[in-house]
């Protein structure tokens, strides 16, 4: 990939919104990779947590939005609990999801869910899932 860096993007409004919404400061991350090392789903992510954060640091929000990472993050907080700089990738992914959901784009349609699931699955899974994936 080739990217051009601009101050306007690095300090752009999307970045500021993500920081506000997540309560995280992107510059604090020093890219040690611990989050990606411990994240149980990073193996499936287009951009593992640390790399997603890296693109945000560079001001490249779209790269991260394009990736599946935020929809895979389960909020287990393993990343945060082991981050030496107390950065929570979970919070950042939440912020990105919110950004996306607030634009009214659902990640999961209820009617796509199998009936068997709705019958058997614990309520909490359904409630939680809807909160995370649906606007």
């Amino acid at each position: 990939m080739k990217i051009k860096l601009f101050k306007q993007e690095i300090e752009g409004s999307s970045i500021r919104q993500i920081e506000r919404s997540s309560g995280e400061v992107l510059k604090n991350c020093y890219q040690c990779g611990n989050c990606s090392g411990g994240c149980p789903v990073s193996y499936e992510m287009d951009l593992p947590p640390s790399q997603a954060i890296r693109f945000l640091q560079l001001g490249k929000v779209e790269e991260v939005k394009k990736a599946n990472s935020m929809w895979l993050c389960v909020g287990c907080q393993q990343c945060f609990s082991r981050c030496p700089k107390s950065v929570s990738a979970a919070n950042l992914f939440e912020a990105l999801r919110q950004m996306s959901l607030r634009q009214g784009k659902d990640h999961r349609e209820i009617r796509d869910l199998p009936v068997s699931f709705l019958e058997k699955a614990p309520q909490q899974a359904i409630v939680c899932g809807f909160r995370k994936l649906v606007s």
Binding site: R20, S21, S22, G23, P40, V41, E44, W71, L72, V74, G75, C76, Q77, Q78, F80, S81, S88, A90, N91, F93, E94, A95, Q98, H107, R108, L113, F117, K120, A121, P122, Q123, Q124, A125, I126, V127, C128, G129, R131, K132, L133
Partner: protein, 288 residues
Amino acid sequence: MKIPYYPGCTLNTVAKGFDVSARESARALGFEMEELGQWNCCGASFPLSPDNLMGLTAPAKVLASAARMGDAVTTLCSVCYNVLKRTNKALRDDGEKRSVVTGFIEEEYDGSTEVIHFLEVLRDRVGFDRVRESVKRPLGGIRAAAYYGCMLLRPAGEVGIDRHEGPTIMEDLLSVLGCEPVDFPNKIECCGAHLAMTRTDVVERLSGNVLESAVDCGAEVVVTSCPLCQYNLEKSQAKVAERRAGYRHVPVVYFTQLLGIALGQSDEMAGLGENRWDVRPLLEAKGV
């Protein structure tokens, strides 16, 4: 002793055994779990964006309701525990948030109610020694792997019933009950949680890793504290069996079920029939 108790929606439906075995055990140990007079679903996820106050309202209502009954509220489900505890902290520490949220739910609440997990009640209020004395049917050295998952432990400093990297509270209880606790590397790893809705492949892999790791360490039964963990672990066994020749399903039970049995409850009361893989043959084999 009476303790206000928040069951949460799942324990009222698919995880009945979890609920009943706990209430009965409490009774056997000489205290009462007093269900909140009025409660709603906690939302099953703590809002990770600090600017999302909406997500705090549901748990705040639960807490306000609990405050009317006592100075503490106990829960069983790890997720409820996590959500209530974090919400409580947010309301206690952040005056601004508190006034917005309480204003919205039109109830007074200052964050002073303590949120404690049932395990903590047993350890800190009842005492494991008391539990030991009350055991009627020691569990015959059954090798039990305590699975904590995420929500009981993280984020450290906000929740955390025990050391967040090496908890032993559940093992300590299990050994009091006559089990032989099995330590295993994946005991604090995630089961896949709500991805059950979207990505069963991921859930099967994560939960499968938990199961395999426990079995490799010699577990005969896996013990949980969360209906979602329970569901994911049970559901994923088929996949593990598929990829691993000679794999034998392990029963997955709530810790309260084993507690109930040890305290002398009937199998029905402990809800053993609700589990997908029956733990009874194993107990019988151990002479329980």
